[in-house]
């Protein structure tokens, strides 16, 4: 027997008889099915993927906007409405009364004593209605006009806020003559030391529509414009998520992610845009994926002082607080792949995020230029907020090749607990774009 043939014989004999060592594995078939499906060209989906992703992102944003927007109250003629007490303190009853009088009178020029703020109101030339009611019953019989406060002339007409509260009952909000036009004018919270009318709440309901009671804040012109801009608040947050190909074994993926989002306090109705970037690590097993990582989040946001919690006693309460927060967003997410065809995947995910505050700065805006108070506050020792936020996301992923994929991920972050020095409930919605590296797919020979 030639040299080496014994070795050949030994190995040939045993290796040709694997016995039961090669039992069928369903996962391998799943992987093959994916390969077969990937081979089929689906150009339509590929071309439409960005559009579909964009639509999904917009839907999420819009849904988020409406879901978490401040509540509004509808008032129908003949309804009796009992309003809850306002969160804000009403410091100036006189001002409120004046305001009511002014609006219920023939002219709005007298709206309150706070001329600084009200003088800039423009009135419609249309007949004046006087259904305005703040604290009491709406008269509403012979009202024949509609008083409108226009924004842009120093009047801030933000959307309805949760302060829509008057401590009064409103009956017969509109008369027969008034048809459905109901204006509710409120006045509230004027900083004691200020010369200005702090807040005048005016609601205008378009004719023919359901009557609504809302509030409008009026502040001095100089401040009002600022507030108007602040109506769009910002925020940011991040989320990651990654997915890998191949179901037959755990797949590992690294992702680089950047995202833009909107953050608001209590709702997204006043949002500011922020940005996030970071890296994520994902383990995928079959249709499930588990993701964690770190995102550096830049979250600016603005909120009214009512939402701001602090032990510090301001001599004069600011009207608004603008925050600049930098934090690490550490998510723990789980995802489930609900669709996969060819190189495209769609997954839904949820999880929890921990915020590690790195930098926290607040700036205060006062209604009066002469207000005496701090202009900003830098939190000296920002805290961490573990598992304080719920993540919801949808991920579209397109496999570029066996190792790399691109993903688009609309997401939302909803608060479980308040975060930050000011204890605010941050809501975030945005879209993340990721570049994913599938580490162990298609391992090359050693």
């Amino acid at each position: 027997m030639k040299e080496g043939e014994e070795v050949d014989k030994l190995f040939k004999k045993r290796l040709e008889e694997p016995g039961n060592n090669l039992a069928y594995n369903e996962d391998d078939w799943d992987a093959l099915e994916q390969m077969m499906d990937a081979g089929k060209k689906r150009p339509l989906i590929v071309y439409w993927l960005p559009i579909v992703s964009g639509i999904a992102a917009m839907l999420l944003l819009v849904l988020g906007w409406y879901l978490f927007k401040g509540q509004t109250t509808e008032v129908k003629p003949g309804d009796t409405i009992v309003k809850a007490p306002t969160e804000k303190k009403i410091n100036n009853d006189t001002a409120r009364t004046d305001g009511i009088k002014a609006i219920t009178g023939d002219s709005l020029n007298n709206v309150a004593d706070n001329k600084a703020g009200v003088e800039n109101l423009q009135l419609d030339s249309t007949p004046l209605h006087t259904p305005a009611v703040a604290a009491g019953r709406l008269p509403g019989q012979n009202n024949t006009g509609t008083a409108k406060l226009k924004p842009g002339n120093g009047i801030d007409i933000p959307h309805f806020n949760n302060n829509v509260a008057a401590t009064s009952n409103i009956n017969n909000v509109a008369s027969a003559n008034n048809s459905s036009n109901v204006n509710v004018v409120k006045k509230d919270t004027t900083p004691p030391a200020a010369n200005n009318v702090a807040v005048v709440k005016v609601d205008t309901v378009p004719p023919g529509k359901a009557n609504m009671v809302a509030q409008r804040d009026t502040t001095p012109p100089a401040k009002l414009n600022t507030e108007g801009q602040n109506a769009a608040q910002v925020v940011a947050s991040v989320k990651p998520k990654v997915k890998t190909f191949g179901p037959n074994r755990p797949q590992f993926a690294l992702s680089v992610i950047a995202s833009g989002d909107v953050t608001g306090v209590n709702s997204l109705s006043q949002g500011k845009t922020g940005s996030n970037f970071g890296a994520m690590f994902t383990v995928s097993v079959n249709k499930w994926s588990f993701t964690t990582g770190a995102m550096y989040a830049i979250k600016p946001y603005a909120t009214s002082f009512a939402n701001y919690t602090t032990a510090y006693q301001f001599k004069t309460d600011p009207t608004e607080v603008t925050a600049d927060c930098r934090m690490l967003d550490i998510p723990l997410n789980v995802g489930y792949r609900v669709y996969q065809k060819g190189k495209n995947k769609f997954a839904l995910g949820t999880g929890l995020t921990s915020y590690f505050m790195l930098h926290e700065n607040y700036k205060y805006t006062y209604s009066s230029a002469y207000a005496n108070g701090p202009t900003s506050y830098q939190v000296p020792n920002p805290k961490n907020y573990l598992l304080s936020t719920v993540n919801l996301n949808a991920t579209f992923e397109h496999q570029v090749n066996s190792k790399f994929s691109l993903s688009v991920q609309p997401y939302m972050k909803l608060p479980i607990s308040a975060v930050g020095y000011s204890n605010v409930n941050l809501h975030t919605a945005g879209v993340a774009v990721g570049f994913n590296w599938n580490i162990n797919s298609f391992t090359k020979p050693k």
């Binding site: 027997m1 040299e3 080496g4 043939e5 014994e6 070795v7 050949d8 014989k9 030994l10 190995f11 040939k12 004999k13 045993r14 290796l15 040709e16 008889e17 694997p18 016995g19 060592n21 090669l22 039992a23 069928y24 594995n25 391998d28 078939w29 992987a31 093959l32 099915e33 390969m35 077969m36 081979g39 037959n248 074994r249 298609f442 391992t443 090359k444 020979p445 050693k446």
Partner: protein, 214 residues
């Protein structure tokens, strides 16, 4: 699986019927995996290579001639896919120190009590170029000329790689044997050598001869 049943499956696969594809896959899973495992570094890669092979099978199954043996066709595809998968590594030069094995000659290797997993692991530990040539020559029965053509190497390289593969495998077999002996001694909890219980012939065959200490 009878011929008729197999042909029905194949006809279903020609029509891209997913159920037929899966049945065919299951039926030849063990056979295909057995081939790929010999050429691969590990099971995961073998599964990946095997699936690539099946992908080719399902893509080109309309070209298969039903009068010919399917298993041979499938095996050839699995082998080719395996070679292609590692082709980049086949010409890599190795500087393994095989001095230790140089003095080894074939002994009574055939009767070693090594199972499928043991031998598969040894083959998988071989460098890619050695493993491929060894598989093609020793197990699949190709000549050096055929191997040289398939791998685009010279016959000299093929022979050299086969020789080195054999030497390495012999070393591994002997090492495994030693480890098995040590283990059995240890398990008995004493310095008792089981060979003592063997008859003289066995001792010569199993220890002195196979221990390569002559």
């Amino acid at each position: 699986m009878g011929d008729e049943e197999l042909h029905q499956l194949i006809r279903g696969c020609v029509k891209q019927d997913r159920k037929c594809q899966k049945m065919l896959y299951k039926a030849f899973y063990g056979f295909s995996m057995g081939i790929c495992l010999r050429y691969a570094n590990n099971r995961e890669e073998a599964a990946e290579v095997m699936n690539q092979g099946f992908l080719k099978v399902f893509t080109h199954i309309d070209r298969f001639d039903l009068d010919r043996p399917f298993k041979a066709w499938l095996g050839r595809i699995m082998m080719n896919v395996s070679i292609d998968y590692y082709r980049a590594n086949l010409k890599m030069a190795y500087t393994d120190d095989l001095d230790k094995a140089e003095h080894l000659t074939d002994g009574q290797l055939v009767d070693r009590n090594l199972n499928y997993e043991d031998l598969l692991r040894m083959v998988q530990q071989l460098p890619q170029a050695y493993r491929t040539v060894f598989n093609l020559f020793a197990v699949d029965g190709y000549s050096h000329e055929e191997i040289a053509e398939m791998l685009n190497i010279s016959t000299g390289t093929s022979k050299s790689n086969l020789h080195k593969a054999r030497q390495k495998l012999k070393l591994m077999v002997l090492k495994a044997e030693e480890a098995a002996n040590n283990n059995s001694n240890y398990n008995r909890g004493m310095g008792y050598n089981p060979i003592v219980a063997m008859v003289g012939n066995d001792i010569r065959n199993a220890f002195y001869n196979n221990g390569i200490r002559r």
